[in-house]
Assembly symmetry: C2
Amino acid sequence: MADDGGLMAPAARPANLLRLLPSLPILEWGRRYDRDTLVSDLVAAIIVTMMLIPQSLAYALLAGLPPEIGLYASVAPLLLYAVFGTSRVLAVGPVAVVSLMTAAAIGEHAVAGSPQYWAVAITLAFLSGVMLLIMGVLRLGFLANFLSHPVISGFISASGLLIAASQLKTLMGVKAEGHNVIDLAQALISQLPNIHVLTLVVAQALISQLPNIHVLTLVVGVLATAFLFWVRKGLKPLLIRVGLNARLADVLAKAGPVAAIAVTALLAWILDWKGQGLRLVGSVPQGLPPLTLPVWDLALWQSLAMPALLISVVGFVESVSVGQTLAAKRRQRIEPNQELVALGASNLSAAFTGGFPVTGGFARSVVNFDAGAQTPAAGVYTALGITLASLFLTPALYFLPQATLSATIIVAVLSLVDLGMLKRTWAYSRTDFLAALATLLMTLVQGVEVGLVVGVAVSLVLFLYRTSRPHIAEVGQVPGTEHFRNVLRHHVATSPRLVSLRVDESLYFANARALEDRINDLVAERPALKHVVLQCSAINDIDASALESLEAIDHRLRDAGLRLHLSEVKGPVMDRLQATEFVARLSGKIYLSHYQAIAQLSPEILTSSTAQRQVNQGGA
Amino acid sequence: MADDGGLMAPAARPANLLRLLPSLPILEWGRRYDRDTLVSDLVAAIIVTMMLIPQSLAYALLAGLPPEIGLYASVAPLLLYAVFGTSRVLAVGPVAVVSLMTAAAIGEHAVAGSPQYWAVAITLAFLSGVMLLIMGVLRLGFLANFLSHPVISGFISASGLLIAASQLKTLMGVKAEGHNVIDLAQALISQLPNIHVLTLVVAQALISQLPNIHVLTLVVGVLATAFLFWVRKGLKPLLIRVGLNARLADVLAKAGPVAAIAVTALLAWILDWKGQGLRLVGSVPQGLPPLTLPVWDLALWQSLAMPALLISVVGFVESVSVGQTLAAKRRQRIEPNQELVALGASNLSAAFTGGFPVTGGFARSVVNFDAGAQTPAAGVYTALGITLASLFLTPALYFLPQATLSATIIVAVLSLVDLGMLKRTWAYSRTDFLAALATLLMTLVQGVEVGLVVGVAVSLVLFLYRTSRPHIAEVGQVPGTEHFRNVLRHHVATSPRLVSLRVDESLYFANARALEDRINDLVAERPALKHVVLQCSAINDIDASALESLEAIDHRLRDAGLRLHLSEVKGPVMDRLQATEFVARLSGKIYLSHYQAIAQLSPEILTSSTAQRQVNQGGA
């Protein structure tokens, strides 16, 4: 700050004003923008633009929209994200999974290709933008935690398979209807142990469609797919062997789709593929993104609310995880709740400029980062590049074969499919595996929305199941010390008159009943029991449910002629308990240390000779 | 066992067989049944029967069914519960809240009073029975944990208000339609701070209905209500003052409804109230419960699935909490999963004998307990009593005024309403208060099903919010010791090169991202940082989501030139981590003790003089 002190003086007043907007990241990086940064950002922008053009066309088609809508959705959102976003390198625009979810959501309300369909897409972007903004303002970013990793991976893998399957038709030039999702899912289930399942599924789908195939389309599609796979796996090592440095080789490899598009479009023009029945993209309107408005129809809003929410949350999770990974590489950070605001603004801008739901894309953000983007200004230049493309490049898209775009999509999404994840999760945790599998199968069979909702429900139920059995150890005194340890693991002294329980978790609604059950059982099993002492050293919180459970336990113990005591209650927990009637009504006392409790209630444990001790051994 | 050894010998073979059914409680108490127990059980059964007759008639009307259905629902379920139930004293039958939920569920499918309505009620009992059985066999009792205490109290209070409001019409002899639920809710909301809200609501409802009131009905209804309230509050002290012992006085006071019914029925007969327009119960078919079958209609089953599930869970929660409380008083115990089986069997039997959904009732179980019931055989005798009543007593019910039954219901359910709960919960926990309030209001305004579902959703969201911010303490060395403590609370030694974090909770999907955020922030803030050490002494579990978060953290730290270390990982957690690639790939090491980690990574902390130490103070 010292070197531009002279410049800062006259700006003092606006700076005061700007303090009201402390969270606007553009104010931070914008002030220090210089020539070097400009060059870095420009280079990155050119590379990302080249990558984004085919992607945005393809994802618009995937969402059931005309290809130019993809370009529209890649301009304003990038600008808005540059203003509000906290990631330096996140590239916002249409992405595969969100496009699939968009298609699923709109499909129920309009026919693909109709003006209504576009209007619903705009409305969906609007609703998603509003929801993201609200979540950001209310700091509800934590809601994304509902999507556990197994659910996300199951969902993303299933989405990848669904998208790939939906593109096979275009790739083969088949006119037949339907995605054949059930067949795909059945094939998948039966082949789960087989790691080469994808090859088989693709082969089976190909064979079943054999009679309807348009051969030229199939040849172009398969060659384009093979080329793109090769570009992904083989081109980079080749370029490095030829002598290019690794980063440049990587960037060139990422530009492969542009080459595929240019070459196939050129061939289609020269060889008149259209005349031979190969489907081309056709005429794409030239011009700037239009100004549009969402449909103001409350009934439509209501039925789009759930899909919009799911799209928002999935987009947010994808975007934040990319953003965090890239930010950490440069020791920068992103602010999740501010990201919600930025993505909300991006989606709103998409809605007002003829676009559809967008979010931060993984591949293009990585490219942006690797190409050296320093600030969100790179996004602004990318938006400029896309604008130029939609002004001048669209006539060249006339000859682009749709099969090439399908190939682009297939290659992109198959990298998302990770069925090995099921195997790894199974090895680590059976409950997490169940959640992942349920999400995967339900998404394949019932679609993206049901899959996601079922996945969340399953993981919540399993979570509740796990936490409904907190670790409750019966403890005894380590002879000669003031320490107490699990009776199942250590030689410790106990008494039939008193039982000491240590709960190793906070008490709340999911596990409070387990404590009730445990104490009820102990009381029923041990007729000589007079005192129950809860060692509360590991309890960080007691919610209202658990408080009622403790009251019920105390009440029942008193009725049965026993007393309930607490020991080692943490300060904050004690403060809250003091405000209730529980402490005043408690049948027993609250002790500072567990040792004090035992010394007063059952001193024979502490003074007993070895012969009198009831010593437990080993086990569990 | 020693004293009946002679008798046991010939029974050895069947006893072996019975071992196959170890969970059938009847086999345990049935074998030791003697004369004393018989007498105790019979006395209790007579008293419970007297209480159950008016209740079952009233709750059938509340569910929208003819009164005799209430008697039908009080026979077979009691028998089945006696065989399968683990509580010695639980009295199963129609209860208020479940009857209200039944009315709400059936109301969407049939007109009250029609044969279809009864058929749907039977189907609902069937589905609820099947669900309870399945939950019991799969040991899903933990699902009831989804209903936190605040949600249950909000729901029960709102149900009480709804039921009372629904009975005002009958009490006043009004012909007008509708429960006026919205008005009631609005009045409630506007009057929440006022503790006498109930009086006002009732008064307002009375006034608005003034022109339609049937005066004689109103007089009978109000007098019956007043009498029953007096019986509840004033009769017992009076009887004790007169010289009765407390238990008998209590039992007599509980029999008040029978007196109200007998007296008003007698007056109706003598004074020909029917001729004056007062509505009577009318002719009730005489005879045993009929054999019935549920409707086999998959579409109906589907739409009844959600209500049946909610009825099952609410019934189970009510039943188990009563059962546990009463069992604990005699140092007995109940087995929640076996209770699911027992309630499932009870509901199935209700479905096949013309009944409707049932569960364990609070008031009648307490009466059963107080009257000295020793075994579930008391339930069998009660079932016999109800059978006799439905065979011979039904003609006497002809003259029973409906207003008396409404008075019975109102007095019973208003004791469930506990708006003071809101105040107490507010004082203890704001989040729990929100859950209770949301459940209460949504139940009043949108009905029982929406209320319950919203309540569960709100409490889950709030729970996730709480746990999404685990307690993560930065710790430093207590100088001269091997102990590490929170830097905000103690004078401890730290280093700018290394940060030690202690996570005070298990890591799982809801809080894993918070750890990512915290570490990202630390790395961005402290440029000199080289090592992050997680002290894992309080981590009992790491789920797959948290494992992926740890991998992401490690990956990002490595990219930024830092290393991640763990210390004091618990045995079971370490065993699971060893099976993953995380340990092999970890940028840092895993240390047995945190002290060892610091000694190796940043020994200057341990050896530094006071001058070099970065000592933190006080705060938070």
